[in-house]
Assembly symmetry: C2
Homo-oligomer: 247 residues x 2
């Protein structure tokens, strides 16, 4: 059987030949009313574990949409182990969408001293992550954590994960140098994270703390001032190009 | 005299000690009503030719704002010679803003076969470029041309400028390889351009034409599908990091 899906959907359920997956309310609405799918229409499903599967849309009752799983289309791949740890910014939805396209494994919002956004709407961001994953052909959705105070997050930093912080004060080595060193140290496949500050940057106490951390490396992104979201995306793109899965 | 400008402004006029520059209507409004500047307030001025200068705000009459130029703050630098040639997309303003931050020298919109945007508002985009230049600490504003048909633009391609086109069909070498080759060929400082298609990608005739051009190189950006604007920004960031002025 060949599948020509117009739609990719992330599901929680396990995927295997013959499985019947219940579409969520949002997915049912999307398939019925946006895509105007008919019974038998092809979709592609992924769950972050079992690869990508072709499935057929079925309507067992008026309000339910079922996805009848057929053949595996792609084997599951492993997303490179890079995180984005970021102070929420005004354009947070944009940031999350782009970071998802650029293949981050996890997104961790943190409240720094100068963060002006007081609250992160996790449900909404999570929907954005899912949609960007579906559209970008990812086989997984990035993990998205609840926003935490910056210093709490640092205190619980996982062993063995390098932290690259984007140092807008000019204290960091150029990113090409930093990534070349990671390559030379055969450190490429080690877990890492990029950290970006809020619109107003890190404050002095935060920079001091970062500079004392043995697992943290300051990184520079050239002579211009980049907005927080631009810096995050630029750094992720460079990392994927030189250490990640674009190589 | 020391200057602590809160505002950077792009001006057309020549800049030299003692010059009096007339603020544009928009700048006068911004200084008076948004920044609530008082006489004597510091601003920084640049024009893309004479470096960055400190100046003082003056109000010679009720509706006029004059900028009295004092000392040079920074020497003019040369922006790396990279262009972005792009099919207009829905998020064109975002694309232009980010490309400006990432230091492109020129922005050239082109209409490809699958471009769905019929018209580019040049005045509006130009204002976006200027604002992004002011905020990103650039000493120049990118050149922005009127949108032209894609094949016309290719036909008038300038000699000696390499064209990297983002090939979403997977036909390109990974960008790290392409940039490493440019470095090895000592081609780094040569003029170049990145080309991105519209949301629906290039059509076959466009890809065929691009593949026949001796000055064009297809470039790949990994296994995920990137939106047009994400691809453009990712490619520019990688280029600046490895061949441009982030090195």
């Amino acid at each position: 059987m060949t599948y020509t899906p117009r739609t990719r959907l992330f599901v929680e359920a396990s995927l295997a030949a013959g499985a019947a997956v219940e579409a969520s309310e949002g997915q049912a609405h999307y398939l019925s009313h946006v895509m105007r799918a008919k019974a038998g229409e092809d979709v592609a499903l992924f769950n972050g574990r079992d690869g990508e599967w072709g499935a057929k849309v079925a309507f067992p009752s008026k309000r339910r949409v079922q996805l009848d799983v057929g053949e595996k289309l792609r084997e599951q791949t492993v997303t490179p182990d890079v995180w984005l740890v970021f102070a929420p910014v005004k354009r947070i939805e944009f940031l999350v969408e782009k970071a998802t396209e650029l293949g981050v494994r996890a997104l961790h919002p943190v409240f720094t001293r100068r963060t002006t956004i007081g609250r992160v709407n996790l449900a909404r961001l999570s929907a954005h992550c899912m949609e960007a994953s579906e559209q970008s052909d990812r086989l997984s959705v990035p993990e998205l954590s609840d926003a935490r105070p910056f210093f709490d997050f640092l205190a619980a930093w996982p062993q063995g994960r390098r932290l690259y912080f984007l140092d807008e004060t000019g204290g960091g080595a150029p990113i090409a140098q930093v990534l070349a060193k990671a390559n030379a140290d055969a450190d490429v496949k080690s877990p890492c994270a990029f950290l970006t500050g809020p619109e107003g940057g890190f404050d002095q106490s935060e920079l001091d703390a970062l500079r004392r951390l043995p697992f943290a490396t300051p990184v520079g992104l050239g002579p211009r001032i980049l907005r927080a979201e631009t810096a995050a995306l630029a750094a992720l793109a460079c990392w994927q190009a030189f250490c990640g899965d674009w190589v």
